[in-house]
Symmetry: C2
Subunit: 259 residues, 2 copies
Protein backbone atom coordinates (compact mmCIF):
# COMPACT_ATOMS: atom_id res chain seq x y z
CA UNK A 1 0.00 0.00 0.00
CA UNK A 2 1.37 3.35 -1.05
CA UNK A 3 0.50 6.26 1.22
CA UNK A 4 0.87 9.76 -0.16
CA UNK A 5 2.36 12.52 2.01
CA UNK A 6 2.53 16.15 0.97
CA UNK A 7 3.09 18.13 4.18
CA UNK A 8 6.49 18.50 5.83
CA UNK A 9 4.56 18.89 9.09
CA UNK A 10 3.23 15.34 8.94
CA UNK A 11 4.01 13.26 12.05
CA UNK A 12 5.84 10.62 9.99
CA UNK A 13 8.11 13.27 8.48
CA UNK A 14 8.98 14.56 11.93
CA UNK A 15 9.79 11.01 13.08
CA UNK A 16 12.09 10.38 10.09
CA UNK A 17 13.85 13.67 10.73
CA UNK A 18 14.66 12.58 14.28
CA UNK A 19 16.64 9.64 12.86
CA UNK A 20 19.32 12.17 11.84
CA UNK A 21 20.22 12.48 15.54
CA UNK A 22 21.96 9.98 17.81
CA UNK A 23 19.16 10.31 20.36
CA UNK A 24 16.44 9.67 17.78
CA UNK A 25 18.20 6.56 16.46
CA UNK A 26 18.83 5.15 19.93
CA UNK A 27 15.23 5.68 21.02
CA UNK A 28 13.68 4.01 17.97
CA UNK A 29 16.39 1.47 17.06
CA UNK A 30 16.16 2.68 13.45
CA UNK A 31 18.28 4.68 11.00
CA UNK A 32 17.81 6.07 7.51
CA UNK A 33 19.32 4.68 4.30
CA UNK A 34 19.50 6.96 1.28
CA UNK A 35 19.56 5.89 -2.35
CA UNK A 36 18.67 2.69 -4.22
CA UNK A 37 22.18 1.28 -3.85
CA UNK A 38 21.94 1.09 -0.05
CA UNK A 39 18.30 -0.05 -0.07
CA UNK A 40 19.33 -2.92 -2.35
CA UNK A 41 22.32 -3.80 -0.18
CA UNK A 42 20.05 -3.98 2.89
CA UNK A 43 17.56 -6.24 1.08
CA UNK A 44 20.35 -8.51 -0.20
CA UNK A 45 21.87 -8.77 3.25
CA UNK A 46 18.49 -9.71 4.70
CA UNK A 47 18.73 -6.89 7.23
CA UNK A 48 15.52 -5.35 8.49
CA UNK A 49 14.29 -2.53 6.28
CA UNK A 50 10.76 -1.32 6.72
CA UNK A 51 9.29 1.85 5.32
CA UNK A 52 10.31 2.83 1.78
CA UNK A 53 10.07 6.58 1.16
CA UNK A 54 10.43 8.11 -2.28
CA UNK A 55 9.22 10.53 -4.88
CA UNK A 56 6.47 9.33 -7.23
CA UNK A 57 8.97 9.13 -10.12
CA UNK A 58 11.51 7.02 -8.24
CA UNK A 59 8.88 4.61 -6.90
CA UNK A 60 7.31 4.13 -10.34
CA UNK A 61 10.73 3.47 -11.85
CA UNK A 62 11.48 0.52 -9.50
CA UNK A 63 8.25 -1.52 -9.09
CA UNK A 64 10.12 -4.76 -8.23
CA UNK A 65 11.78 -3.25 -5.18
CA UNK A 66 8.65 -1.36 -4.12
CA UNK A 67 6.75 -4.67 -4.13
CA UNK A 68 9.07 -6.01 -1.40
CA UNK A 69 7.93 -3.37 1.11
CA UNK A 70 4.71 -3.42 3.10
CA UNK A 71 4.89 0.27 3.92
CA UNK A 72 5.62 2.67 1.06
CA UNK A 73 5.35 6.45 1.23
CA UNK A 74 5.15 8.61 -1.88
CA UNK A 75 6.45 12.03 -0.83
CA UNK A 76 7.32 15.43 -2.28
CA UNK A 77 10.90 16.57 -2.90
CA UNK A 78 10.31 19.14 -0.14
CA UNK A 79 9.69 16.32 2.36
CA UNK A 80 12.89 14.51 1.33
CA UNK A 81 14.82 17.77 1.65
CA UNK A 82 13.37 18.30 5.13
CA UNK A 83 14.30 14.80 6.31
CA UNK A 84 17.83 14.47 4.93
CA UNK A 85 20.98 16.54 5.39
CA UNK A 86 22.14 15.68 1.86
CA UNK A 87 22.43 18.66 -0.46
CA UNK A 88 21.06 16.74 -3.45
CA UNK A 89 18.74 14.03 -2.09
CA UNK A 90 18.57 10.91 -4.24
CA UNK A 91 14.78 10.68 -4.26
CA UNK A 92 14.63 7.45 -2.25
CA UNK A 93 15.11 6.48 1.42
CA UNK A 94 14.27 3.59 3.72
CA UNK A 95 14.00 3.12 7.46
CA UNK A 96 16.35 0.33 8.57
CA UNK A 97 16.98 -1.51 11.86
CA UNK A 98 20.10 -0.54 13.80
CA UNK A 99 22.19 -3.66 14.49
CA UNK A 100 22.89 -4.53 18.13
CA UNK A 101 26.18 -2.70 18.61
CA UNK A 102 26.71 -4.15 22.08
CA UNK A 103 26.23 -7.84 21.34
CA UNK A 104 29.29 -9.82 22.38
CA UNK A 105 30.60 -12.03 19.58
CA UNK A 106 30.83 -15.66 20.75
CA UNK A 107 34.25 -15.98 19.12
CA UNK A 108 36.55 -13.37 17.60
CA UNK A 109 38.04 -14.68 14.39
CA UNK A 110 39.91 -13.12 11.50
CA UNK A 111 41.09 -9.51 11.29
CA UNK A 112 39.53 -6.74 13.40
CA UNK A 113 39.87 -2.96 13.36
CA UNK A 114 39.48 -1.04 16.65
CA UNK A 115 38.97 2.75 16.62
CA UNK A 116 40.29 4.66 19.63
CA UNK A 117 38.45 8.02 19.64
CA UNK A 118 38.48 8.51 15.84
CA UNK A 119 36.24 11.55 15.62
CA UNK A 120 35.76 12.55 12.00
CA UNK A 121 32.67 10.81 10.54
CA UNK A 122 34.23 10.70 7.05
CA UNK A 123 37.32 8.96 8.46
CA UNK A 124 35.24 6.42 10.39
CA UNK A 125 33.05 5.60 7.38
CA UNK A 126 36.03 5.32 5.03
CA UNK A 127 37.83 3.01 7.48
CA UNK A 128 34.81 0.70 7.71
CA UNK A 129 34.60 0.60 3.90
CA UNK A 130 38.34 -0.17 3.66
CA UNK A 131 38.11 -2.86 6.38
CA UNK A 132 35.33 -4.47 4.34
CA UNK A 133 37.45 -4.37 1.17
CA UNK A 134 40.42 -5.89 3.04
CA UNK A 135 38.26 -8.77 4.27
CA UNK A 136 38.11 -7.80 7.94
CA UNK A 137 35.56 -9.51 10.21
CA UNK A 138 34.52 -6.46 12.19
CA UNK A 139 35.14 -2.93 13.42
CA UNK A 140 34.82 -1.78 17.05
CA UNK A 141 34.36 1.93 17.78
CA UNK A 142 35.74 2.73 21.22
CA UNK A 143 34.09 5.33 23.44
CA UNK A 144 34.58 8.81 21.99
CA UNK A 145 34.56 7.69 18.34
CA UNK A 146 32.04 8.99 15.79
CA UNK A 147 28.68 7.21 15.73
CA UNK A 148 28.60 4.50 12.98
CA UNK A 149 25.04 5.40 12.04
CA UNK A 150 25.25 9.17 11.73
CA UNK A 151 24.34 10.31 8.20
CA UNK A 152 27.94 11.23 7.24
CA UNK A 153 29.38 7.91 8.38
CA UNK A 154 26.63 6.03 6.52
CA UNK A 155 27.45 7.90 3.31
CA UNK A 156 31.16 7.08 3.62
CA UNK A 157 30.57 3.40 4.49
CA UNK A 158 28.78 2.91 1.15
CA UNK A 159 26.93 -0.17 2.38
CA UNK A 160 29.82 -1.88 4.19
CA UNK A 161 27.69 -2.01 7.37
CA UNK A 162 25.94 -4.95 5.67
CA UNK A 163 29.19 -6.86 5.04
CA UNK A 164 30.95 -6.91 8.41
CA UNK A 165 30.12 -6.66 12.11
CA UNK A 166 30.09 -3.29 13.85
CA UNK A 167 30.38 -2.84 17.62
CA UNK A 168 30.72 -0.02 20.13
CA UNK A 169 32.24 -0.17 23.58
CA UNK A 170 35.15 0.08 25.99
CA UNK A 171 38.27 -0.92 24.05
CA UNK A 172 40.07 -2.10 27.21
CA UNK A 173 37.41 -4.81 27.53
CA UNK A 174 37.68 -5.66 23.84
CA UNK A 175 41.46 -6.05 24.27
CA UNK A 176 40.69 -8.74 26.85
CA UNK A 177 38.29 -10.53 24.50
CA UNK A 178 40.87 -10.47 21.71
CA UNK A 179 43.57 -11.88 23.98
CA UNK A 180 41.23 -14.66 25.15
CA UNK A 181 40.52 -15.51 21.52
CA UNK A 182 44.28 -15.70 20.89
CA UNK A 183 44.42 -12.68 18.57
CA UNK A 184 47.50 -10.43 18.80
CA UNK A 185 46.62 -6.74 19.26
CA UNK A 186 48.71 -4.25 17.25
CA UNK A 187 48.57 -0.58 18.18
CA UNK A 188 49.78 2.29 15.98
CA UNK A 189 52.04 5.14 16.93
CA UNK A 190 53.53 8.09 15.05
CA UNK A 191 56.98 7.24 16.34
CA UNK A 192 59.97 5.98 14.33
CA UNK A 193 61.01 4.00 17.43
CA UNK A 194 57.91 1.85 17.07
CA UNK A 195 57.88 -1.36 14.99
CA UNK A 196 58.06 -1.10 11.18
CA UNK A 197 54.65 -2.38 10.00
CA UNK A 198 56.24 -4.50 7.25
CA UNK A 199 58.01 -6.68 9.81
CA UNK A 200 54.69 -8.00 11.14
CA UNK A 201 53.15 -10.73 9.01
CA UNK A 202 50.23 -12.30 10.89
CA UNK A 203 49.14 -15.62 9.38
CA UNK A 204 45.95 -15.84 11.42
CA UNK A 205 43.58 -13.31 12.97
CA UNK A 206 44.72 -10.07 14.63
CA UNK A 207 43.49 -6.71 15.88
CA UNK A 208 44.72 -3.38 14.48
CA UNK A 209 44.04 -0.27 16.58
CA UNK A 210 43.93 3.23 15.03
CA UNK A 211 43.95 6.36 17.21
CA UNK A 212 42.51 9.87 17.29
CA UNK A 213 43.28 12.21 14.34
CA UNK A 214 45.35 14.66 16.37
CA UNK A 215 46.42 12.82 19.51
CA UNK A 216 46.77 9.22 18.36
CA UNK A 217 46.03 6.25 20.63
CA UNK A 218 45.67 6.73 24.37
CA UNK A 219 48.86 5.88 26.29
CA UNK A 220 46.86 3.48 28.41
CA UNK A 221 45.87 1.34 25.41
CA UNK A 222 49.33 1.66 23.80
CA UNK A 223 50.80 -0.05 26.87
CA UNK A 224 48.44 -3.04 26.53
CA UNK A 225 49.26 -4.11 22.95
CA UNK A 226 51.52 -6.91 21.71
CA UNK A 227 53.41 -4.33 19.59
CA UNK A 228 52.89 -0.81 18.28
CA UNK A 229 53.37 -0.26 14.55
CA UNK A 230 54.75 2.62 12.55
CA UNK A 231 54.70 3.42 8.81
CA UNK A 232 58.20 4.64 7.86
CA UNK A 233 57.96 7.83 5.79
CA UNK A 234 60.59 8.70 3.20
CA UNK A 235 59.32 12.24 2.66
CA UNK A 236 58.85 15.32 4.79
CA UNK A 237 55.17 15.08 5.69
CA UNK A 238 54.78 14.85 9.45
CA UNK A 239 51.92 12.40 9.39
CA UNK A 240 49.36 10.65 7.23
CA UNK A 241 45.59 11.00 7.26
CA UNK A 242 44.28 8.32 9.66
CA UNK A 243 42.04 6.68 7.04
CA UNK A 244 44.98 6.46 4.61
CA UNK A 245 47.26 4.98 7.31
CA UNK A 246 44.56 2.47 8.21
CA UNK A 247 44.25 1.46 4.53
CA UNK A 248 48.00 0.91 4.14
CA UNK A 249 48.18 -1.10 7.39
CA UNK A 250 45.03 -3.18 6.82
CA UNK A 251 45.98 -4.27 3.31
CA UNK A 252 49.55 -5.09 4.36
CA UNK A 253 48.69 -6.99 7.55
CA UNK A 254 45.82 -8.95 5.97
CA UNK A 255 47.70 -10.01 2.85
CA UNK A 256 48.85 -13.38 4.25
CA UNK A 257 45.65 -14.24 6.07
CA UNK A 258 44.16 -17.55 5.07
CA UNK A 259 40.49 -16.54 5.08
CA UNK B 1 55.41 48.16 10.10
CA UNK B 2 52.09 46.99 11.47
CA UNK B 3 49.02 48.49 9.83
CA UNK B 4 45.72 48.26 11.67
CA UNK B 5 42.52 47.41 9.80
CA UNK B 6 39.08 47.45 11.37
CA UNK B 7 36.61 47.59 8.48
CA UNK B 8 35.60 44.54 6.44
CA UNK B 9 34.99 46.98 3.59
CA UNK B 10 38.67 47.92 3.35
CA UNK B 11 40.17 47.42 -0.13
CA UNK B 12 42.83 45.04 1.24
CA UNK B 13 40.17 42.84 2.82
CA UNK B 14 38.31 42.65 -0.47
CA UNK B 15 41.53 41.67 -2.26
CA UNK B 16 42.28 38.89 0.23
CA UNK B 17 38.75 37.59 -0.11
CA UNK B 18 39.25 37.25 -3.86
CA UNK B 19 42.08 34.78 -3.21
CA UNK B 20 39.43 32.23 -2.19
CA UNK B 21 38.48 31.97 -5.88
CA UNK B 22 40.40 30.36 -8.73
CA UNK B 23 40.05 33.54 -10.78
CA UNK B 24 41.39 35.75 -7.99
CA UNK B 25 44.41 33.51 -7.44
CA UNK B 26 45.21 33.28 -11.15
CA UNK B 27 44.98 37.05 -11.62
CA UNK B 28 47.24 37.94 -8.67
CA UNK B 29 49.53 34.90 -8.56
CA UNK B 30 48.87 34.66 -4.82
CA UNK B 31 47.00 32.40 -2.41
CA UNK B 32 46.19 32.43 1.31
CA UNK B 33 47.85 30.32 3.99
CA UNK B 34 46.02 29.88 7.30
CA UNK B 35 47.59 29.15 10.67
CA UNK B 36 51.10 29.42 12.11
CA UNK B 37 52.01 25.89 11.03
CA UNK B 38 51.67 26.70 7.33
CA UNK B 39 53.23 30.16 7.68
CA UNK B 40 56.26 28.52 9.31
CA UNK B 41 56.45 25.84 6.62
CA UNK B 42 56.46 28.52 3.91
CA UNK B 43 59.24 30.47 5.67
CA UNK B 44 61.33 27.31 6.18
CA UNK B 45 60.90 26.32 2.54
CA UNK B 46 62.01 29.78 1.45
CA UNK B 47 58.85 30.20 -0.60
CA UNK B 48 57.56 33.73 -1.14
CA UNK B 49 55.26 34.85 1.62
CA UNK B 50 54.43 38.53 1.88
CA UNK B 51 51.70 40.05 3.95
CA UNK B 52 51.12 38.59 7.41
CA UNK B 53 47.54 39.10 8.63
CA UNK B 54 46.50 38.37 12.20
CA UNK B 55 44.62 39.38 15.29
CA UNK B 56 46.48 41.60 17.76
CA UNK B 57 46.77 38.69 20.23
CA UNK B 58 48.27 36.27 17.69
CA UNK B 59 50.76 38.82 16.37
CA UNK B 60 51.89 39.76 19.89
CA UNK B 61 52.36 36.11 20.79
CA UNK B 62 54.83 35.46 17.92
CA UNK B 63 57.18 38.50 17.64
CA UNK B 64 60.01 36.46 16.03
CA UNK B 65 57.90 35.46 13.06
CA UNK B 66 56.26 38.88 12.75
CA UNK B 67 59.75 40.44 12.50
CA UNK B 68 60.39 38.45 9.30
CA UNK B 69 57.57 40.23 7.42
CA UNK B 70 57.72 43.70 5.91
CA UNK B 71 53.98 44.01 5.66
CA UNK B 72 51.94 43.08 8.73
CA UNK B 73 48.23 43.74 9.20
CA UNK B 74 46.58 43.67 12.61
CA UNK B 75 42.93 42.89 11.96
CA UNK B 76 39.68 42.16 13.80
CA UNK B 77 38.21 38.63 14.08
CA UNK B 78 35.37 39.90 11.87
CA UNK B 79 37.85 40.63 9.07
CA UNK B 80 39.38 37.14 9.34
CA UNK B 81 35.91 35.62 9.28
CA UNK B 82 35.07 37.64 6.17
CA UNK B 83 38.22 36.56 4.32
CA UNK B 84 38.32 32.84 5.12
CA UNK B 85 35.85 30.02 4.56
CA UNK B 86 37.04 28.26 7.71
CA UNK B 87 34.41 27.88 10.40
CA UNK B 88 36.89 28.60 13.20
CA UNK B 89 39.65 30.82 11.76
CA UNK B 90 43.04 30.34 13.43
CA UNK B 91 43.71 34.05 13.92
CA UNK B 92 46.62 34.19 11.49
CA UNK B 93 46.99 34.20 7.69
CA UNK B 94 49.61 35.08 5.10
CA UNK B 95 49.56 35.90 1.42
CA UNK B 96 51.88 33.48 -0.44
CA UNK B 97 53.12 33.21 -4.03
CA UNK B 98 51.52 30.54 -6.20
CA UNK B 99 54.24 28.31 -7.67
CA UNK B 100 54.48 28.10 -11.48
CA UNK B 101 52.22 25.11 -12.11
CA UNK B 102 53.08 25.01 -15.80
CA UNK B 103 56.87 25.01 -15.61
CA UNK B 104 58.29 21.98 -17.40
CA UNK B 105 60.72 20.05 -15.18
CA UNK B 106 64.09 19.65 -16.92
CA UNK B 107 64.23 16.01 -15.86
CA UNK B 108 61.62 13.75 -14.29
CA UNK B 109 63.19 11.65 -11.56
CA UNK B 110 61.83 9.52 -8.75
CA UNK B 111 58.19 8.67 -8.16
CA UNK B 112 55.35 10.79 -9.53
CA UNK B 113 51.60 10.81 -8.96
CA UNK B 114 49.30 11.90 -11.81
CA UNK B 115 45.63 12.75 -11.11
CA UNK B 116 43.18 12.12 -13.94
CA UNK B 117 40.10 14.25 -13.16
CA UNK B 118 40.15 13.67 -9.38
CA UNK B 119 37.45 16.11 -8.36
CA UNK B 120 37.05 16.12 -4.60
CA UNK B 121 39.33 18.75 -2.99
CA UNK B 122 39.76 16.66 0.17
CA UNK B 123 40.89 13.67 -1.91
CA UNK B 124 43.36 15.78 -3.91
CA UNK B 125 44.86 17.36 -0.78
CA UNK B 126 45.11 14.04 1.05
CA UNK B 127 46.81 12.45 -1.96
CA UNK B 128 49.42 15.24 -2.13
CA UNK B 129 50.08 14.82 1.61
CA UNK B 130 50.43 11.03 1.18
CA UNK B 131 52.71 11.44 -1.87
CA UNK B 132 54.91 13.69 0.27
CA UNK B 133 55.03 11.10 3.07
CA UNK B 134 55.89 8.34 0.59
CA UNK B 135 58.80 10.39 -0.76
CA UNK B 136 57.34 11.21 -4.17
CA UNK B 137 59.00 13.92 -6.32
CA UNK B 138 55.85 15.56 -7.61
CA UNK B 139 52.14 15.47 -8.35
CA UNK B 140 50.53 16.47 -11.65
CA UNK B 141 46.82 17.38 -11.72
CA UNK B 142 45.39 16.66 -15.17
CA UNK B 143 42.71 18.90 -16.67
CA UNK B 144 39.43 18.51 -14.78
CA UNK B 145 41.06 17.83 -11.38
CA UNK B 146 40.45 20.03 -8.33
CA UNK B 147 42.61 23.16 -8.07
CA UNK B 148 45.66 22.54 -5.80
CA UNK B 149 45.35 25.98 -4.24
CA UNK B 150 41.66 26.08 -3.37
CA UNK B 151 41.15 26.52 0.39
CA UNK B 152 39.94 22.94 0.96
CA UNK B 153 42.88 21.37 -0.87
CA UNK B 154 45.32 23.60 1.04
CA UNK B 155 43.84 22.46 4.35
CA UNK B 156 44.15 18.78 3.39
CA UNK B 157 47.72 19.15 2.04
CA UNK B 158 48.88 20.33 5.49
CA UNK B 159 51.97 22.04 4.06
CA UNK B 160 53.04 19.33 1.62
CA UNK B 161 52.96 21.90 -1.20
CA UNK B 162 56.31 23.07 0.23
CA UNK B 163 57.89 19.58 0.07
CA UNK B 164 57.26 18.40 -3.47
CA UNK B 165 56.58 19.84 -6.93
CA UNK B 166 53.02 20.46 -8.10
CA UNK B 167 52.01 20.82 -11.75
CA UNK B 168 48.84 21.15 -13.80
CA UNK B 169 48.30 20.20 -17.41
CA UNK B 170 47.37 17.75 -20.13
CA UNK B 171 48.26 14.27 -18.85
CA UNK B 172 48.75 12.91 -22.38
CA UNK B 173 51.69 15.30 -22.75
CA UNK B 174 53.03 14.36 -19.32
CA UNK B 175 52.88 10.68 -20.33
CA UNK B 176 55.26 11.59 -23.19
CA UNK B 177 57.62 13.41 -20.81
CA UNK B 178 57.66 10.43 -18.46
CA UNK B 179 58.40 8.01 -21.28
CA UNK B 180 61.24 10.22 -22.54
CA UNK B 181 62.68 10.26 -19.02
CA UNK B 182 62.52 6.45 -18.97
CA UNK B 183 59.85 6.23 -16.25
CA UNK B 184 57.25 3.47 -16.56
CA UNK B 185 53.67 4.75 -16.28
CA UNK B 186 51.26 2.60 -14.22
CA UNK B 187 47.54 3.26 -14.53
CA UNK B 188 44.90 1.99 -12.10
CA UNK B 189 41.70 0.18 -12.89
CA UNK B 190 38.88 -1.30 -10.81
CA UNK B 191 39.11 -4.56 -12.70
CA UNK B 192 40.27 -7.94 -11.37
CA UNK B 193 41.67 -8.65 -14.85
CA UNK B 194 44.19 -5.84 -14.40
CA UNK B 195 47.65 -6.47 -12.88
CA UNK B 196 47.93 -7.23 -9.13
CA UNK B 197 49.76 -4.21 -7.71
CA UNK B 198 52.04 -6.41 -5.58
CA UNK B 199 53.60 -7.95 -8.69
CA UNK B 200 55.11 -4.60 -9.73
CA UNK B 201 58.28 -3.68 -7.87
CA UNK B 202 59.89 -0.64 -9.52
CA UNK B 203 63.51 -0.13 -8.43
CA UNK B 204 63.82 3.32 -9.99
CA UNK B 205 61.37 6.11 -10.76
CA UNK B 206 57.83 5.56 -12.01
CA UNK B 207 54.50 7.29 -12.54
CA UNK B 208 51.28 6.18 -10.81
CA UNK B 209 48.00 7.48 -12.27
CA UNK B 210 44.80 7.68 -10.19
CA UNK B 211 41.42 8.32 -11.81
CA UNK B 212 38.13 10.07 -11.13
CA UNK B 213 36.14 9.08 -8.00
CA UNK B 214 33.19 7.62 -9.89
CA UNK B 215 34.43 6.89 -13.39
CA UNK B 216 38.09 5.99 -12.88
CA UNK B 217 40.77 6.79 -15.46
CA UNK B 218 39.81 7.79 -19.00
CA UNK B 219 40.00 4.88 -21.45
CA UNK B 220 42.28 6.97 -23.63
CA UNK B 221 44.93 7.24 -20.89
CA UNK B 222 44.43 3.61 -19.76
CA UNK B 223 45.50 2.50 -23.25
CA UNK B 224 48.77 4.47 -23.05
CA UNK B 225 50.24 3.00 -19.84
CA UNK B 226 52.90 0.30 -19.40
CA UNK B 227 50.44 -1.64 -17.19
CA UNK B 228 47.24 -0.99 -15.29
CA UNK B 229 47.17 -2.01 -11.63
CA UNK B 230 44.45 -3.41 -9.41
CA UNK B 231 44.22 -3.88 -5.61
CA UNK B 232 42.74 -7.36 -5.00
CA UNK B 233 39.93 -7.15 -2.43
CA UNK B 234 39.13 -10.08 -0.12
CA UNK B 235 35.89 -8.55 1.14
CA UNK B 236 32.60 -7.48 -0.39
CA UNK B 237 33.16 -3.72 -0.78
CA UNK B 238 32.89 -2.79 -4.44
CA UNK B 239 35.65 -0.20 -4.36
CA UNK B 240 37.98 1.81 -2.14
CA UNK B 241 38.08 5.55 -1.59
CA UNK B 242 40.52 6.96 -4.18
CA UNK B 243 42.79 8.57 -1.56
CA UNK B 244 42.99 5.29 0.37
CA UNK B 245 43.78 3.34 -2.84
CA UNK B 246 46.45 5.89 -3.73
CA UNK B 247 48.00 5.51 -0.25
CA UNK B 248 48.16 1.71 -0.49
CA UNK B 249 49.65 1.87 -4.01
CA UNK B 250 52.16 4.67 -3.33
CA UNK B 251 53.62 3.06 -0.20
CA UNK B 252 53.83 -0.36 -1.87
CA UNK B 253 55.34 0.82 -5.17
CA UNK B 254 57.84 3.20 -3.55
CA UNK B 255 59.12 0.74 -0.94
CA UNK B 256 62.07 -0.49 -3.02
CA UNK B 257 63.09 2.87 -4.46
CA UNK B 258 66.70 3.75 -3.79
CA UNK B 259 67.30 7.09 -2.03
Amino acid sequence: MVEELTSVKNTRVKEWKKLQTHKGRKKTGHYLLEGWHLVNEALMAGRGVHELIGTKEELEAHPDIVARFEQVYSVTPAILAAVTETVTPQGIMAVADLPDLHRIPSTMKGAWLFLDRVQDPGNVGTMVRTADAAGFSGVVAGDGSADFFSPKVIRSMQGSQFHLDLYEGDLAKWFEDAKQAGLPVYGTQLNPEAKDFRTVQPKTGFVLVMGNEGRGMSSDLLSQTMANLYIPMRGQAESLNVAVSAGILMFELAKNLSN
